[in-house]
Assembly symmetry: C2
Homo-oligomer: 241 residues x 2
Amino acid sequence: MSYYQHKSSEAPPPPPLPPGQLRLYHVHMNPYAHRVRLVLEAKRVPYELHALDPLRLPDWFREKNPRLKIPVLEVPTPQGDRCLFESIVICDYLDERYPQNPLHSSDPLVKAQDRLLIERFNELIKGSLECFDTNFTFGGDQILQTVDVFEKELAARGTAYFGGSSAGMLDYMVWPWLERLCLLRCLRPRAFDAKRDAFPHMSQWGHAMQCEAVVKQLASSPERYLQYYRSARAHAMGYCL
Amino acid sequence: MSYYQHKSSEAPPPPPLPPGQLRLYHVHMNPYAHRVRLVLEAKRVPYELHALDPLRLPDWFREKNPRLKIPVLEVPTPQGDRCLFESIVICDYLDERYPQNPLHSSDPLVKAQDRLLIERFNELIKGSLECFDTNFTFGGDQILQTVDVFEKELAARGTAYFGGSSAGMLDYMVWPWLERLCLLRCLRPRAFDAKRDAFPHMSQWGHAMQCEAVVKQLASSPERYLQYYRSARAHAMGYCL
C-alpha cells in the first residue's frame, strides 16, 4: 500500500496507475472511505491510498472528478483510468470484480434486503451528524431507533454477524459509524453502558467486530475520534465527517 | 398478469402468493413503478399487479410495509412472503434472480458507472418535480443539464442504447421520466422541438425507445400524462408523481 500526502492545490497529480493497481482518494478519518478500505482489505485487493485535504483540493482532482465526491476509487482500464465514487457503488464493484471472499450473499433476495438495510442505516448517519452539529443535544433518538432495527434484524437472523458466521457487506457498511459511536462513552460512560445493555445482540456483534482482523487493522480509538470531532467542530468541518 | 383494485382501507388483503409468483403493489401512473414494470416485462417474469390508492392505504399494507414505500415487490419464500421496496433495489434484484435477458452489463466497472448515472439522473427527477410544483416556471435548467450529461455519455458510447444494441438497465431506469417529459410538447411545442434538436443522440434514443416492444406496451401518451399531472396538481398529489 503506497501513501501520498498533498497539502497544496499546486501539488502534482499522482502518476497513471500501473495495470491492475487501484488507487483510493480519501480524507483522513472519513467514515465513507473507512467503508471502502474495510472492503479492500477484507478482499485482499492491492491498492494505494492518496489522502486529500478537503479544504484544498488540487486542481487535477477537480478535473478528474468534477462532482468533487470523496472517496474516489481510481481504476485503470485500457482506455485510461476511470473514477468511481459513492462508497456503496465502489464496494459493490469491488465485490463483483474480485470474486475472492464474497461479501454479499449469493441469494439475490438477501442481498436486496441487505441493500435496504444499508439504506435504512442512513438514518443513523443523519442522527450522528445532528449529534455532532448540536454538540450531542439532538440526534440520539434517530440513532437509537436505527440500532433497534438492526438489533431485531440480527436477533431474527440468529447469527454472529449480519453476513452469517463471518462479517459480510452489511457488517462492513455500517461498522465505521458504530466504531465512532463509542466516542460517546468518553463523554457519558454510564448512559452509554445503559443504552448498550438494551441492545444485547448488537453489543455482542460490536465486540465480535472489534476483534475481527480487518476491523482491527483500520480501527481508531474512541479517544482519537473524540479528539478529531472536537477539532473538526472547531474548524467547522462538519461536512467531511 | 392479474389485477386488483382497492379503493378503501377496509378492503381485504390479497391472498398469499403461490410459489414462484411475484406481486407488485403500485400506484397508477407512478414513474418508479413504471421502472419496475419495464424490467419485469423485459425479463418476461410473471407477476400480478395490485394498485393502491396512496391517499387511502389499507391497514394490511401498513403492516406489510411499515415504511409505506411504494412500489413494493412481494416475493414468496418458504418462510413467508417478503417485501422489497426502492425501485432500483427491486430492479437489480430481478436482474440477478432471473438470469434471462440480463439488463446490467456483465462488466462490473460498466455496471458501477451505470449505477452512478442512474443516481445522477435524480437531478432530472428533482427538476421535474420542481417544474410540476411551480407550474413549469422552474426546474428546466436541472432537466437540461442532466439531459446534456446523458447526451454526452451516449455519444461517447457510440451505441443506439446505453445498454448497447438493445435497451439495458440504465435505459429502463431513466425512461419513465423521459416519456413523461414529452408532455412539455403539449404546452410549448416550438420550445420543446428546439431543445430536442440540441440533443441529437438523446432524441434518436428517444425514438428508438418509443419503438421498443416493452416500452410500447406500458406507454401512455403525452396528453394522458398532461391530464394526469393537471388533475394531480389540483388534488395536491405531488408526492406520488
